[in-house]
Symmetry: C2
Subunit: 473 residues, 2 copies
């Protein structure tokens, strides 16, 4: 039997004998290092969430009463104030902000016009972190590259005085895996184009919709290369450029984007614990990020995650039981600016890294969870199997244990060795809305949020109530 | 038997005995005042269109090579130049422009911000014909009205210094009938609000999508009432206003829209005839309108109509046969500014009104035709029944003969007594895109256009080839 078959058989043997009984003998609890009745409690939390959680109310409140929350701005600060007040209002004690400083950036006016051969406006948005054009814009011919690979193959100097356009169309996938590949164009395209002499770069939005909704998102400059403005055209506008290019026409464009750096400003993570009864200094982390891009109101990215994790914590808070370890809810700051909240937390908690037991962040929209993956010790694998078993009835497929990753803001901790579990949401439509003005509350289905809350409540409860070690010694 | 039942029975008796034969005896042609083989020819035109017409290529060309075509602007003039060149290129002879003058309007910068209680930008667009706010915008509290009726019921003076907001949500319907009711808010809301003392009006977009895509469209001022700026919020933004209103909060807004009148400028209708063999001065009119709103590229409104009518005429042109009467293709100007091309045509052709035999315009998007209605004489009813019979196999249901209306630009002629036939497109999704930046080529399905072309070709051929009189004497 090959290795894969062995693994599949093991998984099958682990997961097959599922039987829900109303009065469990508690032996399953003891075997998993849990309190007596712990699995029953997790099941009850799951079922309560599925009957209706408060997640939708939370994201409704955040997106309505704060709206967009660009990292480092007053709007993000209002988001933190909202979070502190909301958590206190929900009955959480010792809500605190862990502040950190960051270099912030703000969008300015942005427009582009095709000057020739067919004069017409283009719908675009500046990429986060981009420098500005000269006032009044810059005017240049564009050079069309079907893919980033084609741009990379261009001769140095060949784009002198030109605007590079890269058309690269992202595809929909359930796990969102297309984003990693195509996202590189957004993140690194400007410096690659500048290295060939380009004076600006336009990209097709890293998104899967067909609306005049350009997608923003962060980009970085290679410090060794001069900085050029970078913006994304909506998909219909990128189609238009491709059609004109197919006619063999040279296109001249005026590009005018006026973002500005805001200098060093404050951001912060909002944190609260449900204190454990036996090992309160050991924490199981759940959360979402408070900041959002400025174009929409940050409903699916990541008001949904804030709401899911908060509602799961609230369910546990109200359940009348406390787990052995603490459950830490972190509403992260400045995720979109480069996981800054995650790095700040790691820096601050370096000395108690071994107390960060395991974590999972919700930051992939408002769709239902379809799969659970993890990276935990052999000792903790039976506990993860139990979590998976409890989530199968709500439509979540057990996945592999060789998948490090717990969501963006936990990446610094996971890289530093923290075990991880991830509740993968269906991302098929996520990139229709992600980082656009269309990321608004009306796109969220409350019942889908409830399913996420159920999954997070089961995970947080069981991971916090066990004595098993998630980390391989 | 009541009247409805009688009508239904008559319709049934007319339409039931459908039999397609490869070699018709031509008696049906003679009975309908047609040339011999005329019905067979119409059937062949239909089938040829269904196999693939050039409609998609035409709308691709117009939307790519001209883009947006706001009435009275240089862009609309480029649209006319495109049309003349395209028709000549397709082999039409004597392509001509009938110019007319109009008062034009152009959009300027436009923005709005909720200042309190929850600061955030709002996505909006100026309504066509609106006056500007003062430079820098105006700042005022908003007063929320669920419907236009509620606004109308407000006391005069009660909105002094305020911005009226009317939320009125339009619903999807196959026949688009919801537009008439809700459209009144867009057309007349400003003067109604001003009559109560309001200094501006914001409306929920007259549209059925859930994107940050505000819908523009024309509005008119009551000359007896002072003019106030008018703009539409996108549906998600209107939802946001409703949610904040539901919290009992007073909202303060800065509204800044800077449209400007362009004064008297030239527009025009582009016209070409397929000359009839027996009564060439009698014309059957088909067409679509060349102008569009400025936000999108006018693909479904009305590049599709231009393409459908042009492709139908081209099929007939290339068929090697000529009908008895002329078929007149009119690509109308300045429809969106108030059917100005239609009125100009009526004015110019008043003296030969009786030669305008019947007409049908395509101006309801790019969806498939689902119903045919008409208003013709009893003499011509059998011919309309034959048209309907030929269109049933491509999914078009015969409708009533008491439906005057042939499309917007033909309204002046129809009001002046011209008989009419209308090929109703499925409008269920039309108002998702109508008058928004999202009206772009990617929304069009080429096969749906082909079905429209088939219907227009059958109508134009048979209406032009018959000797029957459509007008009741």
């Amino acid at each position: 039997m090959n290795k894969l078959a062995t693994l599949l058989l093991k998984a099958f043997l682990c997961l097959t004998p599922i039987a829900f009984v109303t009065n469990p003998a508690f032996s399953q609890d003891t075997d998993l290092g849990l309190s007596k009745g712990s699995v029953e409690h997790a099941t009850a939390l799951r079922d309560a969430a599925m009957k209706g959680s408060m997640a939708y109310n939370i994201v409704e409140s955040l997106t309505t009463e704060v709206g967009p929350r660009l990292a480092g701005t007053d709007a993000e600060a209002r988001g933190r104030d909202w979070a502190v007040a909301k958590l206190q209002d929900l009955g959480f004690k010792n809500v605190r902000v862990e502040p950190f400083t960051m270099q912030a950036w703000a969008r300015g006016s942005e427009s582009a016009e095709l000057l020739s051969p067919y004069p017409q406006p283009l719908s675009l948005t500046t990429l986060g972190g981009s420098v500005a054009t000269p006032e009044g814009g810059l005017e240049a011919d564009i050079v069309v590259f079907p893919t980033l690979t084609d741009l990379e193959a261009a001769e140095p100097g060949s784009l002198a005085g030109k605007i590079a356009f890269v058309s690269h169309a992202m595809q929909k996938t359930q796990n969102g895996s297309s984003y990693g590949f195509h996202g590189r164009l957004r993140r690194s395209g400007a410096s690659i184009a500048a290295s060939k002499g380009a004076i600006a770069i336009l990209i097709r939005s890293i998104g899967t919709d067909s609306h005049r909704m350009p997608h923003t998102g962060s980009m970085r400059y290679d410090p060794a290369i001069n900085k050029i403005p970078a913006a994304a055209l909506s998909n219909p506008d990128a189609d238009q450029i491709e059609r004109i290019h197919a006619r063999g026409e040279t296109m001249r464009v005026n590009l005018n984007v006026q973002p500005r750096p805001l200098g060093e400003v404050e951001s912060g993570n909002v944190i609260v614990d449900i204190r454990g009864t036996e090992s309160p200094d050991e924490v199981v982390i759940i959360g979402g990020h408070l900041d959002s891009w400025d174009l929409g109101t940050g409903a699916i990215d990541d008001g949904a995650g804030v709401a899911i994790a908060t509602a799961a914590a609230k369910l546990i808070l109200d359940s009348g039981k406390r787990p052995k370890r603490s459950i830490r809810l972190i509403l992260w700051g400045a995720e979109e600016a480069g996981l800054l909240g995650g790095y700040a937390y790691l820096e601050r908690h370096k000395k108690d890294l071994d107390k960060q037991i395991i974590g999972s962040e919700s930051d992939f929209g408002a769709g239902r969870v379809w799969q659970l993956t993890s990276q935990v010790s052999p000792e903790a694998q039976p506990l993860v199997n139990k979590i998976a078993e409890l989530l199968v009835p709500i439509g979540i497929a057990p996945g592999s244990n060789d998948a490090p990753g717990a969501g963006p803001d936990l990446t610094p901790l996971v890289k530093a060795g923290m075990p991880s579990l991830r509740l993968h949401q269906n991302g098929n439509d996520y990139f229709d809305l992600h980082h656009t003005a269309d990321d608004t509350l009306d796109k969220i289905n409350p019942h889908d949020l409830d399913q996420n809350v159920a999954a997070f409540a089961v995970f947080a409860w069981l991971a916090a109530d066990t004595e098993l070690r998630f980390k391989t010694p």
